[in-house]
Symmetry: D4
Amino acid sequence: MQLEKNQKLLFIGDSVTDCEREKPEGEGLFQALGNGYVSIVNAFLQANYPELGIRVVNKGISGNKVRELKERWQEDVIDQSPDWLTIMIGINDVWRQFDTPFIPDHHVDMEEYKNTLNELVSEAKAVTGTIVLMTPYYIEANPNDQMRATMDKYGRAVKQIADKHHTIFIDTQAAFNKLLENLYPAAIAWDRVHPNETGHTVLAKAFLNEIGFDWKK
Amino acid sequence: MQLEKNQKLLFIGDSVTDCEREKPEGEGLFQALGNGYVSIVNAFLQANYPELGIRVVNKGISGNKVRELKERWQEDVIDQSPDWLTIMIGINDVWRQFDTPFIPDHHVDMEEYKNTLNELVSEAKAVTGTIVLMTPYYIEANPNDQMRATMDKYGRAVKQIADKHHTIFIDTQAAFNKLLENLYPAAIAWDRVHPNETGHTVLAKAFLNEIGFDWKK
Amino acid sequence: MQLEKNQKLLFIGDSVTDCEREKPEGEGLFQALGNGYVSIVNAFLQANYPELGIRVVNKGISGNKVRELKERWQEDVIDQSPDWLTIMIGINDVWRQFDTPFIPDHHVDMEEYKNTLNELVSEAKAVTGTIVLMTPYYIEANPNDQMRATMDKYGRAVKQIADKHHTIFIDTQAAFNKLLENLYPAAIAWDRVHPNETGHTVLAKAFLNEIGFDWKK
Amino acid sequence: MQLEKNQKLLFIGDSVTDCEREKPEGEGLFQALGNGYVSIVNAFLQANYPELGIRVVNKGISGNKVRELKERWQEDVIDQSPDWLTIMIGINDVWRQFDTPFIPDHHVDMEEYKNTLNELVSEAKAVTGTIVLMTPYYIEANPNDQMRATMDKYGRAVKQIADKHHTIFIDTQAAFNKLLENLYPAAIAWDRVHPNETGHTVLAKAFLNEIGFDWKK
Amino acid sequence: MQLEKNQKLLFIGDSVTDCEREKPEGEGLFQALGNGYVSIVNAFLQANYPELGIRVVNKGISGNKVRELKERWQEDVIDQSPDWLTIMIGINDVWRQFDTPFIPDHHVDMEEYKNTLNELVSEAKAVTGTIVLMTPYYIEANPNDQMRATMDKYGRAVKQIADKHHTIFIDTQAAFNKLLENLYPAAIAWDRVHPNETGHTVLAKAFLNEIGFDWKK
Amino acid sequence: MQLEKNQKLLFIGDSVTDCEREKPEGEGLFQALGNGYVSIVNAFLQANYPELGIRVVNKGISGNKVRELKERWQEDVIDQSPDWLTIMIGINDVWRQFDTPFIPDHHVDMEEYKNTLNELVSEAKAVTGTIVLMTPYYIEANPNDQMRATMDKYGRAVKQIADKHHTIFIDTQAAFNKLLENLYPAAIAWDRVHPNETGHTVLAKAFLNEIGFDWKK
Amino acid sequence: MQLEKNQKLLFIGDSVTDCEREKPEGEGLFQALGNGYVSIVNAFLQANYPELGIRVVNKGISGNKVRELKERWQEDVIDQSPDWLTIMIGINDVWRQFDTPFIPDHHVDMEEYKNTLNELVSEAKAVTGTIVLMTPYYIEANPNDQMRATMDKYGRAVKQIADKHHTIFIDTQAAFNKLLENLYPAAIAWDRVHPNETGHTVLAKAFLNEIGFDWKK
Amino acid sequence: MQLEKNQKLLFIGDSVTDCEREKPEGEGLFQALGNGYVSIVNAFLQANYPELGIRVVNKGISGNKVRELKERWQEDVIDQSPDWLTIMIGINDVWRQFDTPFIPDHHVDMEEYKNTLNELVSEAKAVTGTIVLMTPYYIEANPNDQMRATMDKYGRAVKQIADKHHTIFIDTQAAFNKLLENLYPAAIAWDRVHPNETGHTVLAKAFLNEIGFDWKK
């Protein structure tokens, strides 16, 4: 288990991270962490390692693309000085290219995505202990599906940035792909993006397994 | 144009037909026809052929499968004695097999689907002038996608019943397929089922073109 | 078909244009275009010409007169640099003279109307490709009705400005008049102004027919 | 002043009478009489003749036609045994012929209207002291307007029934016509049916003047 | 009838004047004048003298005392330059002395009341044609009741200011007293202050009779 | 202190007793006893005598007159078999005679009041240990006020019934009268009936003092 | 892992089980399973064993005691014929003795609790494959706390019934006790009963670990 | 009775004081004092000593710790210049250490608590007549409970500050302890902090008894 006593673990991202968390502060009493994977990760950390006293903070905001993360990076990440920083961004960067194809202002192309994410990670490294990069994903089994294929490209960009900065890397698409061997996408998310609790559990498991979480503790 | 003066045209189906129509009566003032393809069909009939005085009635109910149509067939179809009857059913019959695969009670298999639909058409023929059968559809371009492939099978069953009873037949899947050559499914429906106004327009056009509607009138 | 690939088509006007569109941005997902003629135009453009990728923007605001358009012209039209600009304004300019006759501050007389509209078109011409001027209308069959007669005068002023600036011109009153040969006004709009979907379809058809839209494509 | 001490005065009709009165009992504290002409009549009776102790009851129901009055005549009129009974019905009987022309079930033609109203008045005469028949109206100045002309015909039927049964008769159309010499219909009612407080005052004045109300008392 | 063609008549006061009028502008469509005596006055002016085109404006605000009128006098009265100005203030100035006797900050004593009202009238005279001063009132028949007696004193102060400035004066207490000969206060207002429609009619009648309104016109 | 261990104390009455208690059961968690004098009595019983374990039940219903109590007496009193029964009824029996004087059906005259109350007490005596009769009241200092004078008469009837059946008797009017020596009615209740917490405290004190409650315990 | 392919697993209990599940059917799309431990169990079963196709049903109802389970046992358990039945009941049976000590009707004493639970298990055994009995719990570390001590007694009764019927047994109190070594109760549940997600995770883990769930699969 | 004629008594604190009081001003009509002990104190002061005319003001704000009191001390206490000032703070200062133990920013340790409270009392002494310090409390009978023990320490700090500044001191924990001899905490407050009306009565009694209130007056 890599998390240490009294560390602060901050998650940032889009609606998959947000999940109706409280704002502006995404921590505290009464489902302040929302009802997605961040809340599941927190619940298992508290249940299995209460003695560590891990402080989990959720800074996801629905609809965000990497462009919006950049605008609030100073306030929501740097000023928070977390010990751990987990970033999952890119779904909307890709989705807008497919669901509103005629509004180019809302698209974030690969170059902007990669440059911006790289910049954000660089800045964060200076103030943060450990960084975890999670790929965006699309809950679609067919790798030749246009949007899935594009999402995979964005995921590979995340992998490159993770490699370059030696951060922890989590392939969420791979995690969902395994589930899709047995379940059709609609059983996890009608829109192939916003998962039900099963899908959020897949994300939480991917994170916890990566950091050496002991489930049987 | 096949519709004649003062005819009553009744649509029945699931949520794609329903679209927040008024209940129990799906006709009258103030968007009583809902905001889907039924309402578009009505608007164009009124705008282009006001002299015909076509009365459009919407009897769609969200979530319905062919099984629920059967339960309300006497009251919502036979007792209404429409001159024209349009049926589009089957999406939920298939969808439940994929989004809640472990609740078999909610599935309608091919045999039940085909037998029930056949029975409903037979009963309706006795009291109705013209019947239009519209296939269910799935807004997914890949014909090998599991749910799309299943939906295509249900669509072929509709075709067989239409042929057997000599009803008008509309292939809504084909209509969407044409659009999917240029648009990704998410641009029409995030969940690949409930279309935006573009998708409902595709359905309305398919219907109106089939009955000889003159757009330039 | 006069619209070309990737063009931006902006509609501005009053409540007939607005129709509960999203604000401040009148474009994007989930009925952001409202539920009036703008949305119908968009749906048919997407359904028949998806390959053109036309971007439709709705900037209508309920209650607006030409005076309010002037106040927001820079931000809502000039700064948007649309390829096509469609203006339909004047109903409230006239209506207030008849429904609140004793509050002169709320009236826009012919001189102000004409001068302001002329000014707005002049400014827009410098930055916009094509301008479409749609007349205001009143869904009343009797041309001697006081308000209808006044509205006709405002409509003729629109015609003059269109002629002067060589813009496209659409006579929406004429479009409604044709329908009124078969339908009483109350069947389209209880208040003779805010049309039901049939009336909005009349407006959409008038626009689409004017720009060479192919309905059978 | 024809009303006498402790008499009960019951109004029945459609939405113009209803005006959000309380249900099922249309009398008592807190705007139980609604906010239309019935409430104005009551307020002036109380203000000018408090010593008479007139009890006003409102039994209007929105959307009613003479057909619906018939269904509830026993319970809402006969069982109430009012000293005075005021009936204003017919607007919806006519309106539905014009705003939903293709739904004949919702229309009440002249024959049914006249027969039913005659029947209701006959039944009421047996149990009620004085009956007041008010015509339906349409706030439209042009007597050649189709709906206005039809409404006038229904109004004349009311006159015939009033004459036959020797009831008090009030020509509400005439009362509005006088106002329309100076005001355009939209200043009283956007939909030409549901009046603002000015229009309800016209109705209240017509009633009060007919029964010899002393305004200066 | 003292009101002349196209004059603007502005009412200012407390909750009895306010009556849920629209804000900030207390005029226009849809019950913008509220549902109290101001609206009744307007309705009768429109119904009996539509040819005069009187513009009625309501600037009442619930809870106001003369102290709050002073704060908004420039904006809500002087800047409006009405032809006629009607002021009814003082109920809360007195009421707070009786319902929250231990919060002296909320009380307006006679001296402040008289000086402030005098000052406001003086300022208004410079810009307004005719001023009408209406007394505050308390719907209580017993002149020895403490609060009634105090209200009477404030009413006499209004009389003195009216005399001094030669304004029109309306004794609303006297108008209610007459009604109280036949009705117990609770039949007009449970709290003896906020009247039902009968009470508002008393106020409207007092105003209209004072300015020579012809009820039979 | 007359209440004994584990006794059940039931209050019945009108809105003064009800005070938004939970329904149908007026006991249990979360302000189930409402926010009036019943809740105050309960709070002091629990706070000063927790060892007695008194169970308080609230069966007040807003708007009730003695007539409505009679209809629910079996279910809400007899079937509950309380050890103590406290009745406060009559305010609405009197009030309706004054606030809706022209609707005699809503009035309960002295004879009906007295007979019905006597009957209810007789029935209750057979199943209940101790009965407490509280008078109705009117928060008005002037004994010559019409409604106050009538309420006093109803209060005297309660006294007679209490004497006849040897029940405990509480003169709530006397309790309020004492307070009115220092406070104007509006400081306790704008409508002179529904008291603020000060007024409810007066009622609770009257009850508790009568049964020998020790405040200093 | 003891669950087998296509089995149906039904949970029944009180608010801890309910957690805003959908009613009447506690299964299907959109958080129909609520947001408590049942939903967590389902999410992990789907995420780790999608190939098993386990169908989870939630039949918890807030406020239930064993007495209410008995009333709905036929409909909600026997008629459902689940393969696995999990029962957690007793918290309210005990809690009411402590939070509303003076309302004995709401208490379920040990004898009734034990007899009823025994009876329910006996009935269920005839139609169900496997039964899991979970103890009630109280999130309080002090075993001498009165309510905790009582809850422990009820928990021991569950153990006895489990032993007698050879069902699976889960000691939820023991699971919470372990967590309470590091966390104060208020960090899990302000009221010591309704846990936050951490507490529900403790319950879900206790269940999953008992049935041989493989977390690393 | 130590309160004197026309004195102003201000209460400040957290949610136990707040209890949905009106904001920003916590005094006036309609439950402006909230529904907790402040309102009970006011009601008894008015009921027993109306001749004193005590003005009670509630400045409690939910969630406040001593840290937040400091921020608003000037505006909410000093600027109000009360004759009496009652302070009850500290529950949240302690509670956050136990319910969100991993968010140290939300904790107020003993040193900060004591220093800040001392500072606030010092400042207030300069402008206020009499100061009353009430301890924080925890409705838990076991003095060895961790949170209760901590609360007791904070309570002792209050005692020291009261002694040092010679203020009145009220031990609310002692008041609750007496009740806990007969009632389990859950009968007063499920969360052991926010009391029901019984608990608020305990607080009100503690205050009133301390200042020599005569209950039998």
